[in-house]
Amino acid sequence: MADRAIVVGSGAGAAVASMVLTHNGWDVLIFEKGPKYIHGYEKPGPIRTTFSSDELKASRKFEIPDPLSEPRTFRAAAGAQEEVGEVNPLSSCVGGGTVHWDAKTPRFWDIDFKKKSMLGPYPDTDVEDWPFEYADIAPHYKTIERLMGVAGAQSAIPHSPVLKHAPGERGFVMPPGPQQLASTTVAGGCTALGLHPYAFPMAINSRVHDGRPPCNNCGQCSSYGCPIGARIGALAVMRHAVNTGRVEIRDETIVDRVVHNGKRATGVHWIDKHGKHGHSSAKLLVLAASAIETSRLAHLSNFPDPHDRIGRDLMFHNFMDGFGIFLDQRMHAYRGRSTTQCCEDFADPDFPGSRAFAKSMGLPYIRGGIMELGGSQEPIAEGNIYTYILGILRAFDPLNFGKPFGTNFKTLMRASILRDRLAGISHVGEDLPYATNRVDLDPKVKDFRGVPVPRITYSMGAHEQAAIEFFIPHMTAILKAAGASMAAAVPESVSDGLTGTAIPHGAHVMGGMRMGHNPKTSVTDGTGMVHGMENVFVADGSVFPSSGAQNPTLTIMATALRNATKLFGDGHKHVGQNHAHHHGHSGHSGDRGPLPSTGSDPTLPLIATATLTAGLAAARLARHDGDNDSGEDR
């Protein structure tokens, strides 16, 4: 009988870890605290789901933890006033954050993996190199792109700055879909200023793939589950795990403690949807519940932490939002995939002017990041903003301005300056690692199950503030060059003026269990194994030593693939390579995906491979018994 691994979480990293483990001889038991909303993803063909184009359902937090039952707490610094509520939550259901993401898959750059050695030290931060470099992860990027079914055009990617820093052929399996008017319009502004926008690579079907239909441009995309399965995110990888028959997924069951003896984990304690408590044992623990939840679980489990590193160096992205209003035409950003163009020029620390600006601020360098071009919003969100603005208008001009409702409100809705005439920029700036930005357990607040909630302590540093100051005017200039009648840009962190704090909400969450060779400055080793523990593997964004300047999910998955392959073997290497066969065959033909179509009985080699790799994995794990990482990655 195969050894059992327990995986906590079912999103991006969990899917990859589960695929690798099952194809290398492990049985996998997955715990997901949220429900299952996408059915039938395991087989090629259409999915069934209760996701829909329903803005109210999304705003009522259909797939996101509700702060009334699962709050988090936030404070700007230790000792500062604490707020209880929603703090950068991710979708929590089978498939994790990739169920309602907008599926953008840019790669990190070479300088992201070797920040310290290529760009130099950064005072007052925890900037370090990753334990591996771009060349190491590049093949894994390509595998994930292929398995998820990324649509993109290699020829569209600009050499400078993108291919120069992230070289190589992408694993695109289909061309980009239709380009949104709002996106191409803002991209036009980029081009006019000498920047290099291109078709945003994304894991959204532009043609039938794995039997799932192409996107039909319904428009309610980012932050919605896809009703037709043109975008199923990590589940496109998870199905290769499930189809081995070695996976059990327990949804609506939270793991509130890893059981261990200080050196070796033996299982988990869980609470299911009926409130029933239980225990399951395993030889291997995989934590992939997302950066904040994995850090929370590590704290709840009292993992050995002699250097007080667990939960530290938490990173969000330094989001900056630009708003261009077009008074002469409607931008109809409600049609199509959300933001079909991107631009990476601001991720370049040598972007013209930025070195001099950094120097003037006494900093080594500054970086923005990738920009998503052409976003907008939907009517309920739009209406709520008008009520807010009408309130402000009254405050500015209390005598002459009319009532903050009625026809004034309806005029704004009809004119739709902040929806149908809006084309935005979402700028994903790099957020440097600071030890003071962290996750620990709130001493008082518990979720509805009675489990202590994560407390987030976070403030942006000097780098982020300088980057905002430098890039905001550039964003406004792009929108003006694109033909916007009015343009403005602000950091996401602009205070709402009520509490004096700004809770990040960009849904890019990294760090807390950072990788590194030195246990004094990191929580996991060069392959994501927790220092000081023999059998706890971390497979989500919590292991990132730095945040990069691009959407993180592809890198979460590629990192998990790189690490899991090193730890557990490469028995999965042929997975999905017979995609072409899936379309022509009915039902189960693709289910044995791991094997090349040799025509022979696939069972025997599968067993042989599994046995061999399980042995290798066991030997590998046995070496993780000290505080030192053996440096096997170099």
Binding site: S52, S222, D321, G336, G383, I385, A415, S416, S426
Partner: protein, 263 residues
């Protein structure tokens, strides 16, 4: 367990209720819940009393007026909260737990408005325990807030009945009472522009009034509709729009951050 087809499975509570009413059930054609019984008794609403509904209906009509509420809207022939039946939306939300599954999350993957085989949104999705916990507390609190708000609106009216006050008096009360206005305004917006399965946006008049296509699955949009401009559409000068545009550099981003999408 979430029923993947979005069908309701009878919960323990529903079964127990049905058993308690067994003798009645033999007489009545169908077992009525308390709220359905109330609605059937002629009040027309599940949660609100007749007077409460009248107050909320009047307030909603001031916040988002239709042709009969404001001369400008008459000019545009633009439907408002009354035409969209927003009071029904709010009543349905407050009475969500009188239904099984509770009317919190409409089903999917689509309605029958744009080529769908059936209106799957009609079948609400059973709640997970964490959603039950949160929404029970939230609706309980909202019921309390609405009862208090209605009392306050009535008390502010000279005739102690907000629904019977003149439009100008209603406007000045709503302008003054910030908390009550924001409570009702937020839900009025939801009732105007959400999918009709939640009880508002009747005949999609909310969407039609702003040129929003609504849920377009499974038909979607053509590549041409995505990529091409629909042509010039020049926004004519208008007091309130100009005022907002003038303030935009100051307030645009501050307001917008509240609505940024995940991605």
């Amino acid at each position: 367990m979430n029923d993947e087809a979005g069908r309701a499975t009878p919960s323990r509570r529903a079964v127990v209720t049905a058993m308690g009413l067994l003798p009645l059930a033999t007489l009545a054609p169908a077992v009525l819940s308390e709220s359905q019984a109330r609605a059937a008794a002629g009040k027309g609403y599940q949660h609100f009393s007749k007077h409460q509904a009248a107050v909320i209906k009047a307030a909603c009509a001031r916040l988002v007026p239709g042709p009969d509420d404001d001369p400008v809207e008459k000019l545009y022939d633009s439907p408002g909260a009354t035409e969209a039946d927003v009071v029904r939306y709010i009543d349905t939300m407050l009475a969500a737990f009188d239904h099984d599954p509770p009317k919190i999350f409409a089903g999917g993957p689509w309605s029958d408005r744009h080529g769908g085989d059936a209106d799957h949104m009609k079948h609400f999705v059973p709640l997970a325990p964490r959603q039950l916990e949160a929404w029970r507390a939230r609706t309980h609190d909202l019921k309390r807030q609405y009862a208090a708000a209605i009392k306050k609106l009535d008390a502010a009216a000279s005739g102690k009945n907000f629904a019977a006050a003149s439009h100008s008096e209603q406007d000045s009360i709503l302008t003054k009472l910030d908390d009550e206005r924001s409570l009702i305004f937020g839900h009025t917006i939801e009732g105007m522009y959400s999918v009709p399965e939640y009880g508002g946006n009747r005949h999609q008049v909310g969407w039609k009034s702003i040129g929003w296509p609504g849920d377009v699955q499974p038909r979607g949009f053509s590549p041409k509709q995505v990529e091409d401009s629909d042509g010039p559409d020049v926004l004519l000068a208008n007091g309130v729009v100009d005022a907002v545009l003038n303030l935009f550099p100051l307030i645009g981003g501050n307001a917008m951050r509240k609505a940024r999408h995940h991605g």
